[in-house]
């Protein structure tokens, strides 16, 4: 299958629309600055999407969703009927817009629309607590964490928990557990990232001390 060609750059991807989806980001080159978007699908996927689908199709859905949501003004309603997008008229997009971020949930008729708006608010506040003043870059660079937080709220397309304190407590407990295990990258990586962050072009290619000529290896390949 041909790879999707994309006109714009996407930083923050959405997970698949099957079951639970998570935040996805997108950057719009169309001049309105940086926009990111989160998407989640409550209640699994619509009939046609439910069978496994290629990444290309997911990306198409995300792109379409993004365009739909992006062109909406702030003062119009936060619900979007998008049956054609997901293949079932039972599905609705419910989104909230925070500065440069869009949080989009796709829900079916068993969810209360206003309830989902509240849920998005809870999600954002939870992100804010877990990241301490969340900003877009946090979400872009820590996709995995965003997912983990979302998974404490929604699993398998069903709302698991709506109490923010409870969610934060569970996320923090798991964070602690991870810390106790030394994390994914543990200590050396901190040193490594310091090394990596050195501005390589400024390192001289050759170091001459007296007669000795030391050739500095080209490190850029590690970047």
């Amino acid at each position: 299958m041909p790879r999707v060609t994309r006109g714009r750059h996407r930083d923050w991807p959405v997970t698949r629309s099957r079951g639970l989806t998570a935040p996805l980001g997108s950057r719009d080159s169309g001049g309105r600055g940086c926009h990111a978007m989160g998407g989640t699908c409550i209640h699994g996927c619509p009939p046609t999407v439910s069978s496994w689908q290629a990444e290309e199709v997911q990306q198409q859905i995300i792109r379409d969703t993004f365009h739909l949501v992006l062109k909406r003004d702030d003062h119009i309603c936060n619900f979007l009927e998008c049956g054609s997008l997901f293949g079932g008229s039972d599905y609705k997009l419910i989104y909230r817009h925070y500065a440069t971020l869009y949080f989009v949930f796709c829900v079916d008729s068993s969810e209360s629309e206003l309830g989902i708006l509240d849920l998005i608010q809870v999600f954002v506040e939870t992100l804010d607590k877990c990241f301490e003043n969340v900003c877009e870059l946090d979400l872009i660079f820590h996709m995995d964490k965003v997912h983990h937080i979302l998974q404490e709220m929604v699993i398998g397309g069903m709302v698991l928990e709506t109490n923010m304190n409870e969610i934060v407590a569970q996320v923090e407990a798991q964070g602690k557990l991870e810390k106790a295990e030394g994390g994914l990258s543990a200590a050396p990586s901190r040193a490594v990232s310091a090394v990596k962050n050195i501005n390589l072009p400024e390192i001289p290619r050759n170091i001459n001390i007296g007669d000795i000529n030391i050739k500095v290896p080209n490190l850029s390949q590690f970047m």
Binding site: T15, S112, L114, G115, D144, Q151, L160, T162, A191, S193
Partner: protein, 1218 residues
């Protein structure tokens, strides 16, 4: 080794982590694809390393790339590796990746079953948590079946965090494995009253979701939910319950009556908009289900409409939207109360928000009446002109068509107006809905005979202006309209006034640029047109003119003969020949018109879309039987090219249905006419359909004549529908005057043939008679059609499988598949089973009973029932319960209980033995020390751990099949079909005396490299009660039993249960060890108290616990390439053994090694197989097993030579027993 480690960690230093990857992608905007493919290459390298941290990091990055749209399914196996890591950090990464990229088609997913089961029973709640979360995304029917029981056990976990997750996942399990619903439902119901609000909410969530799909099965839960609704303060839960009631009320109107009051109270009291809205919604549902007319209900409607109006008028667009949404529901049953808010809704059409406009459109659909249709459509037409986006414009277009055509054109009084609306709509450029307009034109022209003349004139005009419509042909959907236009002009050519002109328009060269299927219709219909012109001319005696028109056809047709479209070409050349023949005859001055017109004689009648389906199959006809013997395989290949044409044919056939085959059609027409003539029920059409309205009183058709004069038909591009509005008003006015005069006559004119629900109309609407006597021909149905609407159901609905009656008692066969130890079954003494079944069968009943009783007390304090009654009675009570509960509402006309009570009393309640046993124990415990919840929880935990056990066998088998790549038919559910394996058990005898028998099994734990778990099954063989059991071992330097903190090394560990006679149960003990390269033996003692009628005695039983080296191994799947690398690496020590006198089959031999020694088959070629396993401390063990005639040789390679030789010795022992 150490050097390698260092090297590894240096390499690692330069691995990118997720943040680096994201940063990199952001920095390579121009060549993103290239950069990412480079990163993927790096990731592939990282995945090849042994270090699990490196792998986890790689998988983490892959997950991100997957979200960007890159396929990562190739790494599925690596994801499983990371999932099975011992550290939570890695595990979580693995499960996240799996939830992103696993799906039902992922073949390696079956390898995860045991890993997931292990994680589910992990002592760490977060391991369980991530496993549950992951499972929710990729659960397959197989996983659901295998894990249903484990998840159900987790529903009673001590931690609410796990309980609520498990409850939610159960819904996914039900979806994939519907058989699990009934066994699991009682526990799910229990969770509705869980002390933790989160668990309660999850249970409500799941049941609501289930009930939404199949509400009737959940009606009996209504009292419970009612109680929750009145007691809960959690808005989430309330909303869910209220939504659920909305789904239940249509089934049980009495429930609705009971609900109205608390709901209206909530509406008045709540401050949460979301709750208010849902309440209004449910009240609406209740009102719909109730027969209206009762005064207090109209008050409720008023309340709802009033609240909704407030919502719609709110400045918050969200509320406005929802208000409209709810309003549309009221509209269906109480249109009058909504119609008074028409102003508000029309106002919403001007809203800048598209969603709101669409909602308002929906509302309009229900608000139209004969009176206001024209006015509303006029408004919509204005919006069509204003609409900028094509999507919204298309939406408007479909809505206009929907509104007009609803209920068989019920509200259209003037079809000329409608046709002109349709013609006006053709001016929309770039719409996708050309075919919709075309379909409407065809439908109206065919079914409303009176309009044909007008329709034909309009269509002729369209054909004349075809160049306007077909300007940019390919993308322009509107040219579909020409299809309808051509067909109508051809079929009803007798109404054409200037047929010559139309024919010429159809023969223009420009036509060849139209899509093929339209050209085909053109070609076909020009002949019809030609035939009627020919007839005209011949009748008028204008032979020259007739020949001229033939000449024209012969000149112009060749352009179609050259068409690239097969259909067009075929028809054109056929027709060209026909016309050439006609020309010959014309030259000979033979009158041909009659014969030509005979080709198209007869009349088309619409057939109902379901007509075909409704024809009953005649007796004795077997549709599935072969008419001819099926063709052999070799033939089918020859036929392949044919199917290509076939498909193409089908694509076209949709468009050219009306003229499939002239002869055939003519024949059918004749047959049909014959049949109709004989059918007394068929209402025959009048002989001259075109002048239909002349039959009616003269005044009726005067306005029609005026229309003909006042509307300039031939001027395209000018909206004329507006003029109809005016004319219509005049007409109605006249009509009214007229009617005052002959009020009595009016009634006669109502024709029974109208397919209209006149009874629904208001009086004022009835007054408006259609402009001309409109003749809507009803669709034909076969005479013996079966009156059923069954065919509306979608057989593929995934939720249909969950339509299961939950009130029926569990049958014998209904149980969740449980991983069982074969010897556990045999352990049971047969006489102990009988009482078990009896006891068990009563248990769930009692529980239900308890619920019910509570309910009853709540609803109205009345009659206390005896506790235990016979089953049949019990079931009856259940039905009565609901009735009783509902009957406390104001008395209503007796409604039939929608629930069909199944036949009771015959089914024996029994579950799987395992579950039975456990429940039994629980029950015993409950009876004995009631209130001691903690012990109960402990028990649950044990149960769970136990189930982890006997997985190895199945897994290894599956694995071997997988790697052997045998044809799939030999594998069914992971077991061999051909050769059943002898029962195997990993449980070995520990010790035995007249009172008790102990068997044990040792399990390593990947999560911990220095711990193993020993599961001991205690079976009470005596008739006495065994209690205060305590197990103690003498620790060695290497191996120690893990004792609770604060106890000394000499203290024993109490067994956390007591054993009634004949019962067995399992306890687990954890041991720590340092080295695992050698087998160990520990001496130990079990002390216990035997209690019987004579008193109690203290007893002891000594045993020796044997830790074999195999028990430190963990079945780990391995791919052959990874295996090959491992062998090449040269770090492994080698050793081999040979055992003679082996007679069992190789398959069984491998299964034994897999099962007893925890190996998995990597590859198998004939009688040679490579196997792999891993110790809990990370030693790789590779085996090459070869079978000779009577012997087996095993070559082993392992990081540690001692371990290897010990393992081989153990294996030798196992094999020599074969």
């Amino acid at each position: 080794m150490a050097l390698k480690m260092v090297k590894g960690s240096i390499d690692r230093m330069f691995d990118k982590n997720l943040q680096d990857l994201v940063r990199g992608i952001r920095n390579h905007k121009e060549d993103e694809a290239k950069y990412i493919s480079q990163c993927i290459d790096e990731i592939k390298q990282e995945l090849k390393q042994d270090n699990i941290a490196v792998k986890a990091n790689a998988v983490c990055k892959l997950t991100y790339l997957q979200m960007l749209g890159y396929d990562i399914s190739w790494a599925a196996f690596n994801i499983i590796e990371v999932m099975s890591a011992s550290k939570f950090t890695f595990k979580r990464i693995g499960y996240l990746a799996a939830s992103q990229c696993f799906h039902e088609g992922t073949d390696v997913i079956m390898l995860t079953t045991n890993q997931i089961r292990k994680d589910l029973s992990s002592p760490n709640q977060y391991d369980t948590g991530v496993a549950l979360t992951g499972l929710s995304c990729f659960v397959t029917p197989d996983l659901a079946r295998d894990l249903a029981n484990d998840i159900m056990t987790l529903m009673s976990h001590t931690k609410p965090y796990i309980r609520k997750k498990a409850v939610l996942i159960m819904y996914k399990v039900f979806l994939k494995y519907p058989e699990s619903l009934r066994p699991a439902f009682p526990r799910l119901k229990e969770k509705l009253e869980d002390p933790d609000p989160g668990v309660q909410s999850a249970a409500v969530n799941v049941i609501c979701e289930l009930a939404r799909r199949n509400p009737k099965n959940y009606l009996s839960l209504a009292p419970l939910f009612f109680k929750l609704m009145t007691s809960s303060t959690n808005n989430w839960v309330l909303i869910k319950i209220i939504k659920l009631f909305g789904a239940l009320t249509p089934l049980e109107p009495r429930l609705g009556k009971k609900l109205i009051e608390p709901l209206t109270n909530l509406i008045h009291s709540t401050s949460a908009m979301s709750l208010l809205y849902e309440c209004v919604n449910t009240v609406i549902a209740v009102l719909i289900s109730l027969s209206s007319g009762m005064p207090n209900h109209s008050a409720s409607i008023q309340l709802c409409v009033q609240k909704l109006r407030i919502l719609i008028e709110d400045s918050d667009q969200n509320l406005k939207y929802l208000g409209l949404l709810a309003m549309s529901k009221i509209l269906k049953t109480h249109p009058k109360s909504v119609q008074s808010h028409k102003d508000l809704i029309l106002q919403c059409l001007d809203d800048k928000d598209e969603s709101i406009r669409l909602r308002a459109l929906d509302l309009l659909y229900g608000m139209v009446s004969k009176k206001n249709l024209m006015e509303i459509v006029k408004k919509l037409m204005i919006h069509v002109d204003k609409a900028e986006g094509t999507t919204y414009r298309d939406e408007l277009l479909t809505k206009i068509i929907d509104i007009c055509s609803q209920s068989n054109y019920q509200y259209i009084t003037n079809f000329e107006w409608y046709i002109s609306i349709l013609v006006e709509l053709t001016r929309l450029e770039g719409t996708r809905h050309g075919h919709l307009i075309a379909a409407q034109m065809l439908d109206v022209a065919i079914r409303v005979k009176a309009i044909r003349k007008f329709a034909v004139s309009q269509m002729a005009m369209l054909l004349d202006n075809a160049h306007l419509l077909a300007s940019n042909t390919q993308r322009n959907g509107i040219c579909e309209v020409l299809y309808a236009a051509a067909w109508i002009c051809g079929e009803f050519s007798e109404h054409l006034e200037e047929a010559n002109q139309t024919l010429e328009a159809m023969l223009r060269p420009k036509v060849t640029t139209l899509p093929g299927h339209i050209q085909a219709v053109y070609v076909q219909n020009m002949v019809k047109l030609y035939a009627s012109i020919l007839q005209q001319k011949e009748q008028a005696g204008e032979k020259e003119a007739a020949q001229e028109i033939t000449q024209l056809m012969i000149e112009r047709l060749p352009q179609f003969v050259q068409s690239a479209d097969l259909e067009v070409q075929e028809r054109a050349s056929c027709i060209l020949q026909l016309i050439k023949y006609i020309q010959k005859l014309q030259v000979k001055e033979v009158p041909v018109a009659e014969e030509v017109i005979a080709l198209f004689a007869g009349e088309l009648n619409p057939v109902a879309p379901k007509a075909q389906k409704k024809v009953p199959v005649p007796e004795g006809l077997d549709l599935d039987a072969w008419i001819n013997e099926p063709p052999s395989d070799s033939e089918s290949e020859d036929e392949k090219p044919k199917t290509i044409f076939h498909e193409e044919e089908q694509r076209h056939s949709r468009h050219r249905q009306p003229e499939i085959d002239e002869e055939e059609l003519a024949r059918r027409r004749e047959a049909r006419k014959q049949e109709q003539a004989n059918n007394p029920f068929y209402i025959k059409s009048s002989p001259s359909p075109q002048k239909r309205y002349q039959d009616t009183p003269g005044v009726e058709h005067i306005p029609v004549v005026q229309i003909d004069l006042s509307v300039p038909l031939k001027v395209p591009g000018m909206p004329m529908s507006d003029q109809y509005v005016k004319l219509e008003e005049e007409r109605r006015h006249k009509q009214k005057l007229e009617k005052d005069k002959k009020k009595k006559k009016q009634k006669k004119e109502k024709r029974g043939k109208h397919h209209r629900h006149n009874s629904l109309h208001t009086e004022s609407e009835e007054d408006i008679a259609p402009a001309h006597h409109v003749d809507i021909i009803t669709e034909e149905m076969p005479e013996n059609a079966l009156p059923s609407d069954e065919d509306d159901k979608d057989p593929n609905d995934p939720y249909k499988a969950l339509d299961i009656d939950l009130d029926k008692p569990l049958a014998d066969s209904e149980k969740l598949p449980v991983q069982r130890h074969r010897n556990v079954e045999t352990l049971k003494s047969p006489d102990s089973e009988v009482p078990l079944v009896e006891k068990k069968s009563k248990k769930p009943k009692k529980k239900e009973k308890k619920h019910k009783d509570k309910e009853r007390d709540k609803g109205k304090k009345k009659e206390k029932e005896k506790k235990v009654v016979e089953e049949e009675e019990e079931e009856e009570k259940k039905g009565e319960d609901l009735d009783f509960w509902l009957s406390t509402a104001p008395p209503a006309a007796p409604t039939p209980q929608p629930q069909s009570e199944p036949a009771m009393g015959t089914a024996v309640v029994a579950e799987s033995q395992e579950v039975k046993k456990e429940e039994r124990e629980e029950q015993d415990e409950e009876e004995e020390d009631e209130g001691k919840k903690s012990s109960k929880h402990k028990k649950k935990k044990h149960k769970k751990e136990k189930e982890e056990k006997s997985k190895d066998k199945k897994k290894s088998k599956k694995k071997s099949h997988h790697s052997e790549e045998e044809p799939p038919e030999s594998v069914q559910n992971g077991t061999l079909e051909d050769e059943p394996l002898p029962p195997m058990s990993s449980y070995r005898l520990l010790a035995e005396n007249p009172y008790i028998k102990m068997t044990y099994d040792i399990q390593g734990n990947l999560q911990n490299d220095s711990k193993v778990t020993v599961s001991v099954i205690f079976e009470n063989k005596s008739t006495s009660f065994l209690k205060s059991m305590e197990l103690n071992v003498l620790d060695s330097l290497n191996t120690k039993m893990l004792r609770p903190e604060g106890s000394s090394v000499h203290d024993g560990i109490p067994v956390p249960f007591q054993l009634p006679p004949g019962i067995s149960n399992e306890a687990q003990f954890v041991f720590t060890l340092q080295s695992i390269v050698m087998a160990q033996k520990l001496k130990g003692t079990l002390s216990f108290i035997v209690k019987n009628d004579e008193g109690s005695t203290h007893e002891k039983l000594d045993f020796k616990l044997h830790f074999s080296c195999a028990s430190y191994l963990i079945t780990t799947p391995c791919y052959s390439d990874a295996f090959a690398k491992l062998l090449e690496s040269g770090d492994l020590h080698m050793s081999s053994i040979k055992v003679d006198g082996i007679n069992i089959s190789f398959q069984h031999l491998l299964a034994k090694i897999c099962f007893h020694h925890h190996f998995s088959v990597v590859e198998r070629v004939d009688s040679c197989a490579s196997m792999y396993s891993r110790s809990i401390q990370g030693h790789h063990v590779c085996l090459l097993v070869k079978k000779g005639e009577n012997s087996v040789s095993i070559d082993g390679k392992c990081n540690d030579s001692t371990l290897l030789s010990n393992l081989l010795d153990e294996m030798k022992e196992t094999l020599s027993k074969c």
